[in-house]
Subunit: 414 residues, 2 copies
């Protein structure tokens, strides 16, 4: 545990969320107040900005604009998807990072992202430890997928879940408005874990939810799906709402859209396999096999950048994740990730703790099997109790001309 004196570097990585910039605000505002931190830098496009020696001097920004980051979606510094090789195989990137860190006397490094980003953060941390260069490194979790191990939940999930639940409620009212029914198939993000799709069950909890929910935690069977939809259609005057994850897979481990396209040798006009999402693919199938009006809806990028619908708890927790990362690093901690621990008791309260970052780097947290109701009926009350606190409260950018006033950073290059 070393109290180092030097500059701090912060980077954002992976897919954007509504609140990743709130964590940035937490890191920046706290770091600017720490006397041991001599300069605060933000890497342009994550690790790539460090490799390219391309970063911004956050000390030159107005604090008011840094505060506005709390409600500005996406990654203000730019993001990246760049996988570091294992240092044992090829240490070129690591040498370069060490060189840059030495040149700017970077003694604090904070990296904000999901599984892959924590893998990057872990690798850099291990390399620097081995090299003997003193630098306190803390990962700041982020992902709408909510699949990071060791934390009660991930910053970004609550707001995306609130988007999914609210929008599903609105969609329910829209999709059932005509006397003659319609099958509506809604595709929600989440390649390997169904947390975000599960949030559709919050709409059911309020009485405006999907009839059927399909998660990547379960094997997807097309025939069973068609039967389940047909049953709802028959019972419910043609009306059926389905929520499904983009990541649902067949027993053979194929993504459903791939599997159907392969089975039908569907090619588009250019000879490629059809791109279309799984909702569109299954909508075509329902139209063919069951008939009637069918509509596919994708929440697409909106579910991860819909900051106008962010949860106040999520915005504040994301900010605190960044703030505590800096605090803990300044107290001498390194090689860790900030995790959320839910306090015991009736009142919802989060404590900010640390976990070895190697644990976060290589594990994926899925929905507990016992929370998933049989026959694709949705999630149990245990999930509802878990998720409801995460979507509480509103927090959004101030309005200017009736539209959000997002942070405008000067981005002064170092």
């Amino acid at each position: 545990m070393k109290n180092l004196v030097g500059a701090c570097m912060f980077g954002q990585s992976g897919g954007p969320t509504s609140v990743i910039n709130s964590s940035a605000a937490g890191v920046f505002i706290e770091a600017l107040n720490q006397k041991n931190i001599t300069a605060v830098y933000g890497a342009a496009h994550g690790i790539q900005g460090i490799l390219n020696e391309d970063f911004y001097d956050i000390g030159k920004e107005d604090v008011k604009e840094l505060e506005l980051l709390k409600n500005t979606p996406s990654s203000a510094l730019g993001s990246v998807r760049y996988k570091l090789k294992d240092a044992d195989v090829d240490d070129t990137d690591y040498k370069r990072i060490l060189e840059v860190f030495k040149k700017y006397n970077i003694r604090y490094f904070f990296y904000n992202g999901g599984n892959d980003s924590m893998d990057t953060c872990n690798k850099v941390s291990k390399y620097l430890l081995k090299s003997g260069y003193e630098c306190n490194i803390i990962g700041v979790p982020k992902t709408i997928d909510n699949d990071l191990y060791g934390t009660d939940h991930c910053p970004g999930y609550g707001s995306a879940a609130k988007y999914v639940a609210t929008t599903m409620m609105e969609l329910f009212l829209d999709a059932t408005v005509y006397d003659k029914g319609q099958v509506t198939i809604v595709e929600i993000m989440g390649r390997n874990a169904g947390w975000l799709t599960a949030a559709a069950s919050l709409a059911s909890y309020k009485g405006y939810g999907p009839d059927l929910i399909y998660l990547p935690e379960q094997v997807f069977d097309v025939d069973k799906f068609l039967k389940q939809v047909a049953d709802v259609v028959a019972k419910n005057n043609g009306k059926c709402i389905v929520a499904l994850s983009e990541g649902i897979k067949t027993a053979e481990g194929l993504y459903v859209a791939e599997a159907i396209a392969a089975g039908n040798s569907a090619k588009d006009s250019f000879g490629h396999a059809q791109l279309g999402g799984v909702a569109a693919t299954l909508a075509n199938l329902v139209k063919e096999k069951i008939g009637g009006k069918v509509r596919a809806v994708e929440f697409s990028l909106m579910q991860r950048c819909g900051a106008h619908l962010a949860s106040k708890n999520d915005v504040e927790e994301a900010f605190n994740a960044g703030k505590y990362a800096v605090k803990y690093a300044c107290e001498g901690n390194t090689d860790k990730m900030v995790v959320f621990k839910r306090a015991e008791g009736k009142e919802y309260k989060i404590n900010y703790e640390l976990m070895d970052i190697s644990l976060a780097a290589n594990t994926e947290k899925k929905i507990p099997a016992e929370w998933i109701l049989p026959d694709n009926k949705g999630l149990s009350q245990a999930y509802i109790d878990y998720a409801l606190p995460l979507i509480q409260g509103d927090s959004k950018a101030p309005l200017e001309d009736g539209l959000p006033r997002f942070a405008k950073l000067k981005k002064v290059r170092v």
Copy 2:
């Protein structure tokens, strides 16, 4: 001009909006206060509910729930798409309507919808006038398409425009987050008029808008489109955001997705012409002809039911449209539609006036050509000045469990 004494019937028709129920609230609350109105009925699924003698007694509802209608999206009474035949050709439906109106002594009829619904309202009005049955009939405008003639704008447009502008701003931040660019093609509703797609230019006005906008008011040329996208891609490190209307058509008058599918004889795996929206179709084309990462996004149903993002001005104006319809009918007016007139002067103010309903029934209002910038660069300042007041203020349902508390009607059948 007759001050009639009797019951009032209200119906909702056509595609849902975020604020159509606010007009319902305006009609109901005002009608319940009018002493000449002896009962207030809401037709289940519009004109179909009248034909089927299927309607609700609104007098049995809690006023608190009627107030909540202001922020409840979609059509609380159910909607319908049913085109009345010309009475000269087949007057069966009209005779039935007259029979039902006589049976329940309905002397006030309010119908809420867009062009087609105003056509229905107009036909019923003309038939009852001719038949000598006294009934004051007023149309209440509604459509996210904003294409009704004779009114400054339509209730529903402001909220949908606010959804489009806000979401486009968020999407801009998301879609430009990586160093390596991506072409993002966003499909927005509007079959014949581009008003809603035009709202994407409000995001540009704030600095977060699309590079290119394609409206149904302009002929769509695929080659010109590809060249324009390629130019932006070349200039802007691969990043290009396109907003386009679902209704864009080729010089031959074909919808673009149809035209491309026909040209390529694209068939899906079941032998049907490919369904896919125009954004998905053009995304495939851009991928093929220009390359790089391309993403199609559809605002889909969310843009018309996103009541959590409703404009306060829109919610209030929709309410007033309903309220004034009842007031004016009770003063003896009939065969009219409520229209919005924007007052002269700097301050934004709407006056509620009446227009012959036949004028609304058969005319479509498009975007003035002089408001459309050349080379698909978006809309002029005249449009911005027109549209900005319509998206001002926030108005949404109270939260319960962090999610909207929508109106719950008892729907007591008459």
